[in-house]
């Protein structure tokens, strides 16, 4: 791929607790160097933050291989837009993926715990921090984990904005209970439409949805289109059931007194603003 800047790959040996973290530190160092010298260099703070995120995820992934598997490798590819990491191992595999993602669940050995690992947070942590997370495992054979940390630089036209900021700027009233992470999601686009079928077929994924509708089907559509926030206009009040279903799917529903037209206009200008 022409956007590839750097590819790094390290073998990881099971039970090799002495070198646990060395690969991560080396990848971290190389990433910092590459990003610092890269002509694509945005703000230093932003670069540090994505390297930090990648580092934490890599360390967790590396620890998992050392603790559980016989042998594996971690590979990190720095693209222009994102950092993709893969951790693959020949190991026992994960018996139950859902259980493995449960906070606090761990099958780590006593030795791993003595060294301060094995609290059963690793996979959950990677899932939490990364922008894209994929895990597959065959019990008795091995595990394949892929995660991405995206570079949110503003080089693609328009401005990306955290939901937190969007709520603040548009003075929205948030109706659902939410997690802190939900506010950190990034939006850069919006779609205004009251016809659910239109949104289903035409709206881009992960967009902000502005609508006057507030019935439960709205949440269904938002879930399918991975819409993180629905702005309900003209002070419409969604039913309790709608809000509950939204919370269940980590979708924020926020309300405004303004009409769809006015909110669209304001959001358009916010997303267009140059830094």
């Amino acid at each position: 791929m022409e956007d590839t800047i750097l590819v790094l790959e390290f073998p990881i040996f099971g039970e090799d607790f002495d070198h646990l973290g060395d690969a991560t530190l080396r990848i971290r160092e190389s990433l910092l160097k590459a990003l610092n010298t890269s002509i694509l260099n945005g703000s230093i703070g932003r670069e540090k933050e994505i390297v930090r995120k990648s580092g934490i995820c890599l360390y967790e992934a590396e620890a998992n291989i050392v603790i559980h598997a016989k042998f594996g490798f971690i590979k990190t590819i720095l693209y222009k837009q994102k950092i993709v990491s893969i951790a693959k191992d020949i190991g026992p595999g994960i018996n139950n993926l859902i259980l493995a993602l449960k906070p606090g669940y761990s099958t780590a050995s006593e030795k791993a715990r003595m060294l301060g690992f094995g609290a059963g947070m690793g996979l959950k942590n990677i899932e939490k921090i990364s922008d894209f997370f994929f895990l597959t495992s065959t019990f008795g054979k091995g595990t394949y984990l892929l995660f991405e940390v995206w570079r949110n630089d503003n080089t693609f036209g328009g401005v990306k904005m955290k939901i937190r900021k969007l709520i603040e700027e548009l003075k929205l009233e948030v109706l659902t209970n939410f997690k802190e992470e939900d506010l950190d999601k990034i939006v850069e686009k919006a779609y205004t439409c009251d016809l659910l079928s239109n949104v289903l077929s035409k709206a881009e994924e992960e967009t902000t949805w502005i609508t006057v509708q507030s019935n439960i089907n709205v949440v269904g559509v938002a879930t399918i289109k991975r819409i993180p926030i629905i702005i309900v206009t003209e002070s419409n009040t969604p039913e309790e059931e709608t809000l509950k279903k939204a919370e269940l799917n980590s979708i924020i529903i926020a309300r405004t007194k303004l009409s769809s037209f006015e909110v669209s206009g304001q959001l358009y200008n916010l997303l267009k603003k140059q830094n």
Binding site: L20, K53, L115, G116, F117, A119, G120, M121, G122, N125
Partner: protein, 122 residues
């Protein structure tokens, strides 16, 4: 809070001095589980002091990855030479106090070091 202040408050000895002494530590975090540390301090934060009983090099690696500038080893625990060596290489200040974790936290809290304000979400 400056590193010198921390040293004074918990009567710490400096095991490894290479690092950033100008850093202004805002929060304290105490844990013996590195994976918990990775989970909690994984977001962008102001400088954190890690208070721990873990003494192997993993604690330095964890600090490096999380941008933690200073690690304070509690309970006066003996520490591996390899840990000090790595801390030197990675520019992380290593301190040791004879107080237990609870008292260490108490003293620093009293002196104005804050607990991290973020809520933990699973």
């Amino acid at each position: 809070m400056k590193v010198e202040e921390i040293i004074k408050i918990v009567d710490a000895e400096v095991l490894q001095e290479e690092g950033n002494w100008d850093v202004n530590i805002k929060y304290g975090f105490a844990a013996d589980l590195l994976s918990d540390t990775l989970f909690v301090i994984s977001r962008e934060e102001e400088p954190v002091l890690l208070i721990t009983g873990v003494t192997n090099p993993s604690v330095v690696k964890t600090a490096k990855i999380l941008d933690i500038p200073v690690v304070l080893i509690a309970r006066g625990k003996p520490i591996e030479a390899s840990t000090v060596e790595l801390a030197k290489k990675e520019n992380i200040i290593l301190l040791r106090t004879k107080y237990i974790v609870f008292v260490t936290c108490g003293l620093l809290y009293e002196a104005g070091l804050k607990g991290a304000p973020w809520k933990i979400q699973y």
